[in-house]
Amino acid sequence: MSSDIYKDIILDYYRNPRNFGDLANADVRAKDSNPLCGDIIEMQLKINDGKIDDVRFKGKGCAISQASASMLTEVIKGKSLDDVKAMGKSNVLELMGIDPGPTRIKCALLGLKVVKLAVYGYLGQAITEEVKQLV
C-alpha cells in the first residue's frame, strides 16, 4: 500500500483502540471537537499525587484523530501533570510516526488538546493560548 499516513500502526489503533471506554472513578473529564472533521474526543483521567494514574478515552471521527488519541493515552499514563503540560505537537507526531500535513494535523492534535483541557481543568488553571491553538 502506498498510503503514507495510514500506516498499519495507525489503522491498528483505529480498529482496536487501546484505553477506550469509561473510567468509573475519574477525577476529571474533558471533551472537545474538531470543527473541520467533526471529530470528537473525550478524555477521563484518574490523577494521584500529581501523576496520571489511569486514563480512558471515547470518541468518534477519523482514523487520525482516534488513533492518535488512543496512542496518547498509553504514553501519558504514569506521567506527571507538568510533563503532560509540556507536551506539544512534536510529541504527537513522533508517537504516530507520520506527518499528516497542515490540514489533518488538527485531527492528530485533538487528543492532546483534550488531555490538556482536562489537566488544566483539574488544576483549576486558565487554558493557555497554546492549548487553544492546538486544534
Binding site: 500500500m1 502506498s2 498510503s3 499516513i5 495510514y6 472533521c37 467533526g38 471521527g61 487520525i64 485531527c107
Partner: protein, 414 residues
C-alpha cells in the same frame, strides 16, 4: 464566434486548463472538487493578466483613456452575464463577491424592509448554509418563522410539503436550483408558480446550476437568483445577484458609499439608478471582466454540451461505484435528475480519511458536511465524501478514482 461543437472534445478543452498538467504526490492531478470551485481556462487567466498590464483603472468616474477602457470592459461583462441567464435587462445584474453575498444582499435590503412578525420564509432541507443562515438571522430579528421543505428517500423535494408549506403567510421561498450534496435538480418553475400564487417571492440559489446547465431566469420566473463566478471558470471574488428590476427599484440600498450615490449632502443622500445602487465602492473590476470571459467560454462550448458531458460522466461514475463493496451513494438514482455531484460514503471509513487517501493518489475530492449540516442531520450522516465533475473530467479519471476507492476499502478492511 466559433461554431458550437456538436460533440465535446475533452482533450482539446483540457489544453485550456493549465492546472490539469499538475502532478500531486507524484500522480497526475485528478480534480473532482468542482462543486467547491472550478478551475480556470487560460482565456480567463490571460484576461486578468492583460487587464493589469494594459488598462487597469478605476471605473465609472474617470475621464481618461484607461478608465474608459476599464469601464467599457466591466459593463460588457455585465451584458454578457445578462444574456447568459436571459435576464430582461442588463441592470438586473448586480456584481457581488459570491453567491453568499448575493443572498445576504436580499436578506438585508429586501428582507429588512418586507419581512414582518409572523411572516413565513420557506426553505428546503437541502439548502447550503449560505441560503439558510441569512434567513435565520432575518427571522430572528423580525419574529418571522422559517420552514423547511423536506425530501424523500431519493433526495427529491416532497411534493406534499411544497404545497403545504407555501401558503398565504409565506413572503419568500429560498431554494437551491441544484443541491451541492445530493446533486438533485429542483423544479424551480413549480416553486415559482406555487409561491407567486400567494404573492410570495422566490430566491433561487443557482450556485450549482448556472455553471453546469442552461439557466433561463426569465423562464424560471424567479424573483432573485444568486451565483458565484469562481464555480463557473471565473476568478475568485466575483459573483452575481440577478433580480427583477421591479424588486430592485423598490429596495433600499445595502452597502453604501462611493459609486452608488447620486448626491450626498451632510443631511442625506440619494441613490444612483440600477444596478449601481447596489454596488458600493470600487468593484472587483478584473474579476467581473474575467467572469465575462468565463461566460464566453461556456457559451462557446454551449451549456447543453456541458450538461450532457456531465450527465455522461456522472452516469459512468455511478455505475462503476456500485462495483465497490459497502459504498453508499446519496441523491437521485436517475442521472437526468442530477448535476455532476456524487456524495457517498464507503463502509465506515471516515470521509476525511477517504479524502486523504484520495489525495495521496492525486485525486481532489471534498469531504465533510459540505456546508449543509441541516441536510446531514436530516439524513443522519455525520459526513460524506463528494466527487464533482466539470467539462474537463474524463471517464479515465473516473477509472483511476474507482481503483483508489477500492484500495482504500482494502486498506481499512483488509
Amino acid at each position: 464566434m466559433v461554431e458550437k461543437l456538436a460533440t465535446i472534445n475533452v482533450p482539446r478543452i483540457r489544453e485550456d486548463f493549465p492546472i490539469l498538467k499538475r502532478r500531486v504526490n507524484g500522480k497526475p492531478l485528478i480534480y473532482f472538487d468542482n462543486a467547491a470551485t472550478s478551475q480556470k481556462p487560460i482565456q480567463v487567466i490571460e484576461t486578468l493578466d492583460k487587464y493589469y498590464r494594459e488598462y487597469n483603472a478605476n471605473i465609472h468616474r474617470g475621464i481618461h483613456k484607461l478608465a474608459e477602457e476599464a469601464t467599457i470592459a466591466h459593463e460588457e461583462a455585465r451584458e454578457k452575464i445578462a444574456k447568459f441567464i436571459n435576464a430582461n435587462r442588463t441592470e438586473e445584474i448586480v456584481f457581488v463577491r459570491n453567491a453568499t453575498e448575493a443572498i445576504n444582499l436580499v436578506a438585508y435590503a429586501w428582507g429588512r424592509a418586507n419581512i414582518k412578525q409572523g411572516d413565513k420564509i420557506v426553505l428546503t432541507i437541502m439548502e447550503h448554509h449560505s441560503n439558510i443562515v441569512p434567513w435565520q438571522q432575518l427571522a430572528n430579528e423580525k419574529g418571522a418563522k422559517l420552514e423547511f421543505i423536506k425530501i424523500d428517500e431519493e433526495g427529491h423535494l416532497r411534493q406534499d410539503e411544497i404545497h403545504e408549506l407555501i401558503d398565504e403567510r409565506t413572503k419568500i421561498v429560498c431554494i437551491t436550483h441544484a443541491s451541492n450534496v445530493l446533486g438533485t435538480i429542483n423544479s424551480i418553475k413549480e416553486i415559482t408558480r406555487a409561491a407567486h400564487r400567494f404573492g410570495a417571492l422566490v430566491l433561487v440559489d443557482a450556485a450549482q446550476s448556472v455553471p453546469h446547465m442552461r439557466v433561463d431566469a426569465r423562464d424560471l420566473d424567479c424573483d432573485f437568483m444568486a451565483f458565484s463566478g469562481h464555480k463557473m471558470m471565473g476568478p475568485t471574488g466575483i459573483g452575481v445577484l440577478y433580480g427583477k428590476s421591479k424588486h430592485f427599484e423598490n429596495m433600499p440600498p445595502f452597502l453604501c458609499g462611493g459609486e452608488m450615490i447620486k448626491e450626498v449632502h451632510t443631511t442625506g443622500a440619494s441613490w444612483k439608478d440600477l444596478p449601481y445602487k447596489f454596488e458600493a465602492g470600487t468593484p472587483n473590476i478584473a474579476g467581473a471582466i474575467g467572469l465575462g470571459v468565463a461566460v464566453d467560454y461556456l457559451r462557446n462550448v454551449s451549456m447543453e454540451t456541458v450538461h450532457d458531458h456531465e450527465k455522461q460522466i456522472t452516469g459512468y461514475a455511478l455505475t462503476r461505484m456500485t462495483e465497490i463493496d459497502g459504498l453508499v451513494v446519496y441523491g437521485p438514482k436517475e442521472v437526468t435528475k442530477r448535476v455532476g455531484v456524487i456524495s457517498f460514503n464507503l463502509g465506515d471509513i471516515h470521509a476525511h480519511d477517504l479524502a486523504s487517501i484520495m489525495d495521496e493518489e492525486g485525486i481532489a475530492i471534498r469531504s465533510g458536511h459540505h456546508c449543509a449540516q441541516p441536510l446531514m442531520e436530516f439524513l443522519n450522516v455525520p459526513a460524506m465524501s463528494r466527487a464533482s465533475f466539470y467539462i474537463y473530467n474524463t471517464n479515465e479519471e473516473v477509472d483511476v478514482f474507482i481503483n483508489a476507492l477500492e484500495k482504500a476499502r482494502k486498506l481499512f478492511n483488509p
